[in-house]
Amino acid sequence: MAKANLMDYEKALELFEVVIGLEVHIELNTKTKMFCGCRNDFGDEPNTNVCPVCIGLPGSLPVVNKKAVESSISIGLALGCKIEANGGFSRKNYFYPDLAKNYQTSQFKDPIAYDGALEVEVPSGNKFTVQIERAHMEEDAGKLTHIGGATGRIQGAEYSLVDYNRAGVPLVEIVTRPIIGAGSEAPELAAAYVRLIREIAKALNVSEARMERGNVRCDANVSLRPIGQEKLGTRTETKNVNSLRSIERAVRYEIQRQAQILADGGSIIQETRHWHEDKGSTSSGRPKSDADDYRYFPEPDLVPVQPSTELIEKLRSELPENPADRRKRLAGEWGFAEMEFRDVVNAGLLDFIEEAVAEGAKPQAARKWYSGEIARIANSEDKDVAEMNITPKQVAELATLVESGKINDRIARDVLSAVLAGEGNPGEIVTSRNLEVVSDDGALIAAIDEALAKQPDVLEKIREGKLQAAGAVIGAVMQAMKGQADAARVRELVLERASRA
């Protein structure tokens, strides 16, 4: 696969207006599947959470999961949507072996929620309003594993296995209207939008909302039109972009790829495209036209979904604070500087810091560990923070160890590495490696006296009032203590001993 020619990003934006559209699938965390009583847990042994309904055996019939409907309504309300009082399910007909019935039970004409809007802030501080066209309920398909091919893709595979544990898992698909006017910030807006959707789903507790596990999946539509043109350009749909970074990169890539094709006089093929994380590029999937004929018709095995006004209002009254309000509140509670707080939001660290604070960390300490260390390491390893092998509780434990003076910052960084390497909780690591600081003044004083004796010139300087000279002695003492001393205490003692000697 030859890598496409990419136009310089700034140049692309001079020539074209970017239009994006986002489809986000949220997997609900209901106990059971959308239309049957099977456990909603597709991490189990393949084809164990299945029954006649979700593997589509003859004669079986679906029954709607009430909790899934309620979760979907809550999502709709949080997106500022209207709720459909007389909706229902439709069948989307197409043959594919991961689709047990060869039709997907979904919603077509009357989605549970429609006509919403979200205000989304991008890293620059600019705010955009994203119009939500609809949020509808549907069931997930099974999972195919292609065996024998080089790439794990269907092309070249000898055979494929299908796991129906995921078949029938409840999904809510949120579809935006075309988003126009984000300009150069379109990629950031796409990522910020999905982050906000994730935050909403998490706050509502309707989904685990973990992108790395596929609980939140994003399809990104991108099209370009020459500046000043009214008609929308032909779009591509990049499927299953599964991290916030990738969304941003994929949108940017498509802008540059499409711009070059258009500038060369070519035309964009309406198609789905696959995002390749490793190469940082997209490749052609299957052609997709608006004329794809799914032969939708109302699902005759289900009755209409008619949530009562009482139910809708009850769910509305139970909505958690919206993400914007939450940010405002946390900014106040934590007392971060404005830039600090924005960085935290943009790095997607809000949830982690909030959890770490809830586990007992001081806000600034939690921020420092996440922004300064964990995010930096994640970045260098090309990972999301969520993929890092450390929990907010462990971060809080680490911060508390530092706060109480049991370890110092340098040791703490070693402990962090050990936690990330899977060696256990911070407290356990400190104990097992005997990393606790030497707080016995006697031992420290002995080391200080020895160091001072070795460096009489330094002692002289300290006595002359040149206190910064103490650094050399402190360094020697810390070295003697193998770093396991509180540097501030060492400094105090050095000055004390120097004045006494």
Binding site: L61, P62, R295, L302
Partner: protein
């Protein structure tokens, strides 16, 4: 022929309850009859005499132990082969499912088991219940016990012939456009399509989900009532099943009355153009109803003229989707073409070989009716007709308590007569289809033999939604008067099948 098999279900239940006859005796008598006439009539696709006798023994043991038993305990029954059973194959009359044993029982089958009814076997049907004659069964047609050269009706020709040839006192049918009522009419038996949702469809291999309804097949109205009372009721596995109780059909049948009721004669289905013998018997039935104190009023249902057209768009549309799951991936037949075929090719080859001509015809029709550009013109228009038909019924039931028509335009026709002409075949259901489109209950009751061919004729009663009991009340009353006139039961006119 054993005297036991000639008895009604109600009579057998009473004899067993009194201890005058055992369930094993009753069950064995029917098994003997199956052995005697089964091959000639070809009602069953699968028989299970051992499990039936095992259930019978269990009932006898528990009865002897003084346990209180369900009403129909020990009474044998046959089940249409589009209902799933864990202890017998379920084929729906199709090659594509040949040999498939479901891992779960249909809700109705569970109810029969809970009622401790010995299940004799699975009865024949047109493939996926698509047909009016059983000629579209992949396993060969069933015969009409009144004349083995004629069709037993369809799709439930297995159930109608099994009951009319005394191989079972009762059977389960399913009715999507007349598949219980039409076979009932042409075999001189009673068949009811309950209100849509009265009986759970869970485990019924769907033809058209919005039209399908399971119901009883019997030799008289009271027996059908007993069976409907056993199989009806809400099922949490079927979202379309009714939550309310429709009352006791047995009580309604025992009440049996025509007096003071208004019978709506449907102008569009008054019998004009129907076989003369059918018209004659229907006219007599009207007179009997009037004589018994019923009042006849004419009702106009103009949208019925479009019922068949609408039905043959809605049904294939739903069927094309319902049958998509037969793809060889998870169950049933798998045909692997030569070479190294992709899954698409395997699916296509399996469906090419596994489905018969009528199934393919309807899948293609339905796929087309739902396709972009055709949807509004076909499926959408058909749904509008459906609404108009429901409105016609509403207006008619404002004037009448019950609507009446002949059940079918003709008596049983000969094999091969219509099988090559789909439209002629579809017209058999002209009188039965409107009830499915509206969801309302309907029943066919025998009213004698046509003059020209001495074959059974049926009257159809239709009642408003949820008022199935009215069907049993008037059906039992008319049946009683007719049996009085004849001096015997309708089914006793049937020629004895002394085959073998």
């Amino acid at each position: 022929m054993s005297e036991l098999i000639k008895k009604t279900a109600a009579e057998l239940v009473e004899l067993m309850a009194k201890g005058e006859v055992s369930s094993v005796e009753v069950t064995q008598a029917h098994i003997d009859q199956i052995n005697k006439v089964g091959d000639a009539v070809h009602s069953f696709l699968f028989t299970s005499p051992e499990t039936a006798l095992a259930t019978a023994k269990e009932v006898d043991r528990r009865r002897a132990a003084g346990e209180s038993l369900p009403t129909l305990a020990g009474l044998p029954i046959a089940v249409k082969d589009n209902l799933t059973t864990t202890d017998a194959p379920t084929t729906a009359g199709s090659k594509i499912l040949e040999g498939w044993v479901a891992p779960y029982d249909a809700t109705v089958v569970t109810k029969l088991r809970n009622e401790l009814m010995p299940i004799l076997g699975k009865t024949n049907l047109d493939e996926f219940a698509m047909g009016s004659s059983t000629e579209f069964s992949a396993f060969g047609p069933s015969k009409n016990p009144w004349d083995l050269t004629r069709i037993p009706g369809g799709s439930g020709g297995g159930s109608s012939s099994v009951v009319s040839s005394f191989q079972s006192p009762l059977a389960i049918g399913s009715d999507t456009g007349g598949s219980i009522r039409f076979p009932g009419a042409v075999t001189g038996t009673v068949g009811t399509k309950p209100t849509y949702g009265a009986v759970s469809r869970y485990g019924l291999i769907a033809l058209a989900s919005s039209l399908d309804q399971i119901g009883p097949v019997a030799r008289n109205v009271l027996d059908a009532a007993y069976l409907q009372d056993v199989i009806a009721g809400h099922d949490p596995h079927d979202s379309t099943s009714l939550t309310q109780s429709l009352g006791s059909m047995v009580a309604a049948a025992k009440r049996g009355s025509l007096k003071g009721k208004k019978f709506g004669l449907i102008k569009q289905l008054s019998g004009a153009g129907f076989q003369q013998g059918v018209q004659n018997r229907f006219a007599e039935a009207i007179k009997i109803i009037t004589d018994a104190g019923g009042e006849i009023v004419e009702v106009d249902c103009p949208s019925f003229d479009y019922a068949i057209d609408a039905y043959y768009l809605i049904l294939p549309a739903e069927a094309s989707s319902n049958l998509a799951k037969f793809d060889s991936v998870r169950f049933g037949m798998r045909v692997t073409p030569e070479g190294n075929p992709t899954i698409d090719k395997v699916m296509a080859a399996t469906r090419e070989l596994g489905f018969g001509p009528e199934v393919k015809r309807r899948i293609i029709l339905g796929t087309y009716a739902l396709s972009a550009g055709s949807f509004d013109k076909f499926y959408g228009a058909a749904q509008k007709v459906r609404t108009l038909i429901q409105r016609d019924f509403d207006n008619a039931f404002a004037k009448a308590d019950i609507l009446i028509s002949p059940t079918a335009p003709t008596t049983a026709f000969k094999f091969g007569e219509k099988v090559a002409d789909p439209l002629a075949m579809y017209l058999n259901d002209i009188a039965t289809i409107p009830a499915n489109l509206a969801g309302i209950p309907g029943m066919s009751v025998p009213i004698g033999l046509a003059d020209e061919d001495n074959l059974p004729v049926g009257i159809q009663f239709l009642a408003p939604n949820y008022q199935d009991a009215k069907l049993y009340e008037v059906g039992a009353a008319l049946e009683g008067i007719l049996e009085g006139i004849w001096g015997k039961r309708m089914i006793d006119f049937a020629p004895n099948l002394e085959v073998k």
